[in-house]
Symmetry: C2
Amino acid sequence: MRLAELSERSGVPTATIKYYLREGLLPPGERVTATQAEYGEEHLRRLGLVRALIQVGRVPVARAREVLDAIEDESLPQDARLGTAVESLPPGRGSTAGPEVLKAAGHRVAELREELGWNRVSATVGQEMLVAAVATLMQLGYPCSLEHLMPYARLAGELAAHDMDLVERFEAPTTQLEAAVALTVLYEPVLLGLRRMAHAEEATLRYADGPGTRT
Amino acid sequence: MRLAELSERSGVPTATIKYYLREGLLPPGERVTATQAEYGEEHLRRLGLVRALIQVGRVPVARAREVLDAIEDESLPQDARLGTAVESLPPGRGSTAGPEVLKAAGHRVAELREELGWNRVSATVGQEMLVAAVATLMQLGYPCSLEHLMPYARLAGELAAHDMDLVERFEAPTTQLEAAVALTVLYEPVLLGLRRMAHAEEATLRYADGPGTRT
């Protein structure tokens, strides 16, 4: 397909596609004349990933290129390509907690990993996110003991298994990696939206009888 | 306690506390002299919630005041106070999808609610987040059929039940509402961090044998 069709099918303006091409976020099309190139389904798919990263994940352009480079690096084994790609995704919000609280949160997370037997991978962006979140809970005096965190961790484990099953439906290794990165980013708001919807249902279920009916 | 102690125990600078007092985010202390006031544990707790909203949830000050007003409005039943407070939390990222895709996503989410029997509450911020997220998945061509979304929804339901159990450990109604709002915001990064950690474990488990060993 030509640039105009790629733009129409992806919903991305041609000027933006040209920018992604210049920045190396999208591989060049196959040149057919001096001024025109032909694009394929892989361009459409890659464009989806680039938009997921930049527009939904708010990943900076330079970081997005690192993610894409990791996906394409066929010299590495599949798990290393996936690891590098996913680790290049930014960790989200940090914590305003001081070094002592961060240290305590780091210990709590280490205990949690021990308890779960999550000992295959060490320092990851996910762990960094969790330590920051636990430090904030500690600092503000909200519950975050091992006992509180364990049910969330078990459910996260189940989610991760679903995520990987979804990814494995894509056949080619590179397509799998693209899907892994896109679904990491795109299912985060799905999950948070569902959790908030479930809160509203659960709260209505528990409290809708009005005040004073529960003691 | 005096302002200096409140600042020390909360880790919030006195200038910031004074700003929150001026903006009505924190109730005034009990005046003891012309220039000094006494603060209690409820100020410390409330300060934690304000920081959770503003620093972690990035809720604008005016919106934070709406959340707090809803928590304090004792003329409303508990579920209405909770509903108003949680609905005042901003929905996060929107979608760049066009109106047709948003409509299709809206239908998908309505089907999902039907399937789950989540029919106690209608239009919520959570639903708005989910519609935006599903619209983005649709637009980018990533899987988001009912069959794909259901396992996430079921897990979100389990999470919500855990969340409400945690909230119910707080005794006073107002403290419960504060905790519900704070834990909605503060457990979002906990959940996302745990999911990413679980991904890394799961990927290593599935792929660590190296490329080519899986077909």
